[in-house]
Point group: D2
Chain length 257, copies 4
């Protein structure tokens, strides 16, 4: 059978990335507390395609995923991206694994436990012997408006806000460490299971810690700037303003100088 | 050229609905204040297919849309669905036009104006001489938690909530009338443009009108039950709880007895 | 602390459903081949609220999920919904668990294996001693247009189509049985991992089995009508037509007479 | 009333972008053939916030939108972004207007007309006297697999593919010019309204023009490289493979050297 992908291409154009995306696959990942966690990932995998070849061999991406039995973690993506280069005869490869990550969280007063979720994305690439990885965390928090609190006789509008943080690190940084930083930057964290004494505590705690999106992003920046393992970060805070039908946002990107 | 759709089908199965959906089309609709409003609709159109035919003629749905020059309103969908039956040689037809609808809203204190949006859906069907239509409105509002207010020394969690209301009417009911009912059922309406004096007003107003999703749905029900033009309604209130990462909801369906 | 939810309500309106939705939770489910499968679910849980109470106790829904350790299957939802009624002091309860379900599939010629995904939803309710459950499967397949094949000198447009099937059964019906029925109704099934010999086989197989959405829905109906364990079904086929920017669809609902 | 936003901030952190997003607003834009087109936009607007201020004044973004009466076009965004800087007392501003854009398209044989849709995004920024703008077009097309065609006795899998193209230009480039380039790169364009003779033509035309995502991206690159008004582009082709449940993609970014 003819291998059309292997045909010579005469258009003389190298393609930055060719691959598959939207691959929904069960994965098993390393978790600080329980060692492994089964979840499901939206997977993207690609390689650079040199000018002389017409196409890449898409099935080999899935074969590589099968070779690794869906095991992914920040510590094996170097091996994974290198393996893609070998199998696809490429000099550069990139992957992205996006998945929900669950962790147990205790309610602040009752201590009752339940699962909380954040969205993790691991973006890794391999090129000429160099491996690069970005860890992304998307986590919902609460923001309470300092202006609304200040000018009103009582109450203050508050709402869910999504904090999206991407970091490039030196050494290992646990998802839980990034989650803790994000939650500390907001007016209050969210919970899945709260009893009334917890609801009272969070309502008051949030009222005592009003934060604009500008405040949240600066609190994040202060904490991230003081963490020597973080070489680069990009953060976005988007607040679903409860007095508006649109969102307020702030974003910042910094490289350690 | 052979007409495959016209072939006889021997499987002896009548199909409830066959048609097109996800048709994105510019439409012009009637608006109480400005006479017409240009918007864009997600359109679905279908017919019942008798057991003896293999297929329907999908292009005729789009031709009908073109015949009407994209003009839709609660008052011409009877004609539209009847025309579909004629063109497609069908005894029953159904359509759905879903579109964003914009209206000017004044901020409560400053009086400054801007556009607000709701999501409208018109669902109409024609069968054996009978026309039926449902008007749906999806509108975001604010809810402030009565429990959180009651048990906390200060503050109260609040958030955006989506109210989805569908009604079957006798006589004309303007979108604006349904919008007014929805906004009256909540702790506060949302606005696109607010100055500080407005933000103060809404924060306090919402604190003075705490509403569970249970309260919102009951307030809606009380108003809808007292409106003689409304023969049937189905309402859902879904609140993006700002202390949780999930939503609270309430729903109700009633037919005038 | 005051229990605001327990307050008497004077509006005299019973609410059909009050509860939580959008709860993202890790779940473990029964799987025909491997006994259990870890996945993640979008969970909705609600109860009927009598006219005399102001609100329900939302935290008890999550507590029930915790009590079951996230274990769900068609066979324990009767117990689950009954338990919700007890804990929430309600006469009716409803739940919905929607999750991706993965199964191994062999490529048709090479026999190479990979995971395929379908979207499952289990909708269950308990009312006055009666338990009801609907199993829903959403699965992508390929459709190849019989008209395009017939009128063209070569080729035929084909595309992904989503089949959504909901059934109410007597006795146990495995997800895999419904998946097999859905795949048999289409021009061809989809695969995650195919080698060239498989691609050739599927391309030719699909060309030999052209199917309108009307054909797919009728093939489904013929198979479902002949299965005595299926008491009711509702099916929708939506094809992302590759010559159009919109979809073609067909749908049917039947109750065993 | 206190202006909390104007407070001095001591954290010493400048924020790259602060503003609003998810603003759904009716807009009027310039159109090559009809002069103006009413559509609806998803609007994002932001400014850089210096280290010394606690917050920005979010309402002024919406006021600016109102000042322009929702009129947007590639030619007035320079004025718009400059105006944002003035009103918000900022040295840098950014906006994004994303909207569906409709154009009339004739079927290839019958000549029958209907609306086609593409998704346009205009991203503009103003900084220190410099204005920058990117025009983005997202358009669905058809791709037919060259490998599937080559190895199969008959047929070839084909499907919808989304081409996303962003360009930075010198001088005016009409949306219609970019649309024409995108459609020429694919196996075939999509249509909303086709009669049987058109369907035959497109089926055969596509079969005669098989294209991998790699081919589409290279055809695009060849055309864009030869257009002197285009200074930079980034293109992505994502094909909803009709034999797989995931997508194939290719992407490329080039700056005129």
């Amino acid at each position: 059978m003819k291998d059309v992908q292997k045909e010579q291409d005469t258009r003389n154009i190298q393609i930055d990335r060719v691959g598959v995306k939207g691959v929904s696959y069960p994965v098993v990942l390393m978790d600080r507390d329980n060692k492994t966690q089964s979840t499901i990932a939206d997977v993207s995998m690609s390689v650079m395609l040199p000018r002389e070849y017409r196409g890449t061999h898409m099935s080999r991406f899935i074969e590589t995923l099968e070779e690794y039995h869906g095991r992914v973690s920040p510590s094996n993506l170097g091996s994974f991206t290198k393996r893609l280069c070998e199998k696809l005869n490429a000099s550069e490869s990139s992957v992205s694994f996006a998945f929900p990550y669950y962790f147990r969280k205790k309610a602040p007063v009752s201590g009752i436990e339940s699962f909380s979720k954040c969205d993790v994305v691991l973006e890794a690439s391999y090129e000429a012997g160099n491996f690069d990885m970005i860890i992304g965390i998307g986590l919902n928090v609460q923001t309470l408006c300092p202006c609304s609190k200040e000018i009103s006789r009582y109450g203050a509008h508050n709402q869910r806000a999504l904090v999206s943080l991407k970091v490039r690190c030196e050494g290992l940084v646990w998802f839980e460490e990034l989650i803790a930083i994000i939650e500390a930057s907001a007016s209050a964290p969210l919970y899945t299971l709260l009893k009334r004494e917890d609801e009272k505590y969070i309502t008051e705690h949030s009222y005592e810690n009003p934060r604009f999106v500008e405040d949240v992003i600066r609190e994040l920046a202060v904490m991230l700037d003081s963490e020597p393992r973080i070489l680069w970060y990009k953060a976005n805070v988007t607040s679903s303003e409860s007095i508006h039908n649109h969102d307020a946002f702030a974003e910042i990107e910094r490289r350690r100088s």
